[in-house]
Each structure stands twice: as C-alpha cells, then as structure tokens.
C-alpha cells in the first residue's frame, strides 16, 4: 500500500449517524480508542433533519426532538475525545480490518482491531413516466433541504407514501411554508402512526388511499401530476384519473439498508422484507458472521433513530468486551439493560413486526446465504 498514510485505532466506526456515534461513545467510555469516519461535512447522519418529537419512554428521550438528541450525542463524543473524521468516504474494507477512505483527495488506511459498520439506509425510488423530471425527489431530500439547508424545494407538493417519513415530512414541509396539495397511498390503509396522520389531516391535507401516480408532466420541471385510483387487486380504476397542479413530487416509499461495505467484508446476508431487504446476519451482540465486524442502525434493518442508538450502544459495548476493556459480568449487565430498552422500543402495532423480523434474523444459522 505504498504512498498511502496508515493510521491505527482499536475500533473503526463507519458512519457518524445516531448508531455510529452511540457505538463510539460506548467504546470510548470503556477506555478504548475509537475513530468514526463519515463522508459528510457534519456528523449526525439523518438525525439533524428530524425536528419532530420522538416517541417511546422517558429513557428514550421521548418528547425530545431529533436534532436535540443529535446535539447531545455530539457533546458526549467531544467530552470523551472520540475522533470523528468528516469529509471522508470509506471505499474499501480489507480482510485484515483495514479501512480505506479518502480525505482531501488522498487515500488513507486505518488499521483497526474491530469494525462497526453503521452506514444507514438510502431512500427507495419509484419509477413512473416523468419521474426523472426536476421537482420529483425523495421525501428525505426535501426534508434535508428544508430542515438542514433551510431552502424550500417547491411551493406546492404531492407526497407519495403514507409511512412515517411521508407523514412527518408533509407536516414539516408545511411548517417550512410549503403547500401540500395531497398525500397519496397505494395501499387501502395509512402506513405510519395515527398521530402523525391526524396532524396533517387537521392541517387540511387530503390523504387519498388506494391511489397512485400515473405520470408527472412538465417540460423542464414538474408542472402537474396525474393520479389514479387502484382497485382491490391494485389495478387502475378506469376513468378515475385526476390532474393535480403541483411543482414538486416527494417520494416516501421506504428505505433500503446501505449494505455494500458488509458485502465487501464477506458477511453472510439474509433477505428480510420487514427490515428493508437484504441485511447482514448478526447475533445479539450485533456481530456479523465475520468475527470482529459489527453492524448497527439502519444497515442491519431499517427502524428508527432510537433503535439505531441502542444497537450502536450494544455493538460498542460488545467491542469493548471483545477487546478486554470490560469484564464479562460488567458487559453482560450493560448489555442486558440495552436489550431491555430495545425490546421496549420494539412493541406496539409497528414495533411488534420489527421485533419478529429481528428475532428471525438473529436466530438464523451461520453458513450459507438465506
């Protein structure tokens, strides 16, 4: 590896989102050296665009807004002197646990004893005629624009998808001053929490269930959208087409774990639709089938920021234990508390499904592709 800078650390964490930061905090608290690497200019991952209050119990800081939780995590990382490298995309992982990243146009190698991959997830796209027109974008992109960069992506918006991201971003677009013309959902029922749906209904946004987009129209950007109704067999209802004048279409149809680095590392995978698709198999410590390589957060199954942080804490604690920084007993006590908190998060109409999917993933045998 001639010409490249080589650095060392005990634990390398990829991704400075809630999962990665929480993991690093636990390693540092146990006295380990830890380096977090993120390609963004700012740490926090998706947390800083989440300006709504979180659910859950008090330990989960329910009622606290996402970006405030992010600020708290950053304070802790500073107090514990966690090294956070920004503007540094990770492009390779080598079998000897060397992490390759690029900073300032130069390649750097970081040799670690343990690796925690916390790369998050990416938004799914939706293809329809006109879906490539400027003005059609991910709901997360719109959320980033309004809440992080403070720019409105458009004036009049159609939201596609009634999961929590679709519902929350619709409300946040209105808070930022946009007009949300409608929210459409192909399924016959709302996908996200009732509280979030009620908020936007109260604000006067119609939610059309069993509806989808037929096409977006416009020359250089979106000028209007044609939507249509779907029957019980998800087929278009003839004559149900309606034209809506909007300049922006936001797509909120789910997230897919960003798993490339885990594939590169040779981790075994399983296909678990309830977690967003292909996810690396992992055990209760968040360790993958490659010893010393851990995952945490959305990469191990798309959930929420609160579960991402708990998974990060778990991976960080398990790494510290593996490095001999924590005694077995002490580590078990710490992990038991985290498991309990995580199970509490995975309850209720939405959490139950995620808990079943996770239990299935953790229970899978090692050996072969599922």
């Amino acid at each position: 590896m001639g010409g490249r800078t080589v650095k060392t650390t005990q634990v390398a964490v990829i991704g400075a989102g809630p999962a990665g930061l929480a993991a690093a905090i636990e390693v540092a608290r146990a006295g380990g050296s830890v380096t977090v690497i993120d390609e963004n200019a700012k740490p926090g991952g998706q947390l800083f665009k989440q300006i709504h209050k979180f659910f859950g119990s008090r330990e989960h800081r329910a009622g606290v807004r996402g970006f405030h939780i992010g600020e708290q995590l950053l304070v802790e990382t500073r107090e514990l002197n966690v090294e956070v490298l920004l503007d540094s995309p990770v492009y390779a992982l080598f079998p000897d646990k060397t992490v390759g990243y690029i900073h300032d146009g130069k390649e750097v190698c970081l040799k670690a004893e343990k690796i925690i991959i916390a790369a998050g997830a990416a938004e799914n796209a939706l293809a329809f005629p006109g879906s490539t027109l400027p003005g059609v974008m991910g709901a997360g992109a719109a959320q980033t624009m309004i809440n992080v960069h403070r720019v409105l992506p458009g004036k009049r918006i159609l939201m596609i998808g009634s999961g929590n991201v679709g519902l929350i971003v619709s409300y946040q677009l209105m808070q930022a001053g946009a007009d949300v013309a409608a929210l459409i959902e192909a399924a016959p029922q709302i996908g996200g929490y009732g509280v979030h749906a009620a908020k936007i209904l109260r604000a006067g946004v119609p939610i059309h269930l069993s509806h989808t987009v037929k096409r977006a129209m416009g020359k250089d950007q979106v000028e209007s959208v044609e939507m249509m109704e779907l029957d019980a067999r998800w087929q278009p209802v003839a004559g149900s087409e309606k034209i809506l004048a909007v300049d922006t279409v936001c797509i909120a149809v789910g997230l897919t774990p960003l798993t490339e680095l885990a594939w590169l590392m040779g981790c075994e995978f399983a296909f678990v639709p309830g977690l967003g698709g292909h996810v690396p198999k992992h055990d209760l410590n968040m360790e993958t089938t490659v010893p010393g390589v851990f995952v945490a957060g959305d990469i191990s199954g798309v959930e929420e920021a609160s579960t991402a942080m708990e998974e990060g804490r778990l991976a960080g604690t398990a790494c510290a234990e593996g490095l001999g920084l924590l005694e077995r007993e002490r580590a078990r006590d710490l992990k038991t508390v985290i498991w309990e908190r995580m199970n509490a998060l995975r309850t209720g109409p939405f959490g139950d499904g995620r808990r079943k999917a996770k239990d299935h993933l953790v229970g899978l045998p090692v050996g072969g592709y599922e």
Partner: protein
C-alpha cells in the same frame, strides 16, 4: 425560496455572504451551504441534461447518493452539487451529457 422564519428552528440569520456564477448569471449564496441549496433558493431546478435524450435532471436524493444533481463546477464536470459546499466566486454550469473538463478540446 429560503425558509427564513420557522416555528421550531427559529429565524435563519445567516448572511448571504457569497455569490456564485451560474451559466453566466450571479446568484447570491451562503458560504458552506451546498451549491444545490443556493440554486433551489434562487428557483433553479434544472441542473443538467442527459447525454442521449437531452432530458432534464435535478436534485433527487439530496445526500450525495444518486448523482442526479451533477454539474460542471469551476471547470470540473460531474460534481455532486447537493454535497459540495459553496465558495465565493464559484463558476457553476448546467452540464450537458457527461460534461467536459475545462482543458478538453
């Protein structure tokens, strides 16, 4: 359009301390914000046209993943404008196809 007042985030007090040149026109911007944010604030949404069909593209993912938002910046093509920070005096051009380096014939 900029979100100046916000019920939760408060007022945006950042100054427009920079200017970039977009296809020859001056656009006011804030140092450090992504180029795409400055363009959207100025109402510019078409960032490039595709090589074969010349169809327009703009911001899609906003976090550097999809490369739909690439433009030619200071003579370098294929720069992701959603994650590239503004510097005063930057020259930004709508990119046609795969773009050309400034020193290419």
């Amino acid at each position: 359009m900029r979100v100046v007042k916000h019920p939760i985030l408060g007022d945006d007090r950042r100054k427009r301390d920079a200017a970039i040149i977009v296809d020859g026109n001056r656009v006011d911007a804030i140092t450090g914000e992504p180029i795409a944010a400055a363009l959207m604030a100025a109402g510019i949404r078409k960032f490039r046209v595709t090589p074969r069909f010349g169809s327009p593209r703009g911001l899609f993912c906003g976090i550097g993943r999809c490369i739909d938002c690439v433009m030619t910046v200071d003579g370098q093509p294929n720069v992701r404008t959603c994650v590239t920070p503004v510097k005063d005096g930057m020259i930004v051009e709508t990119q046609t196809g795969l773009g050309k380096w400034a020193d290419e014939p």
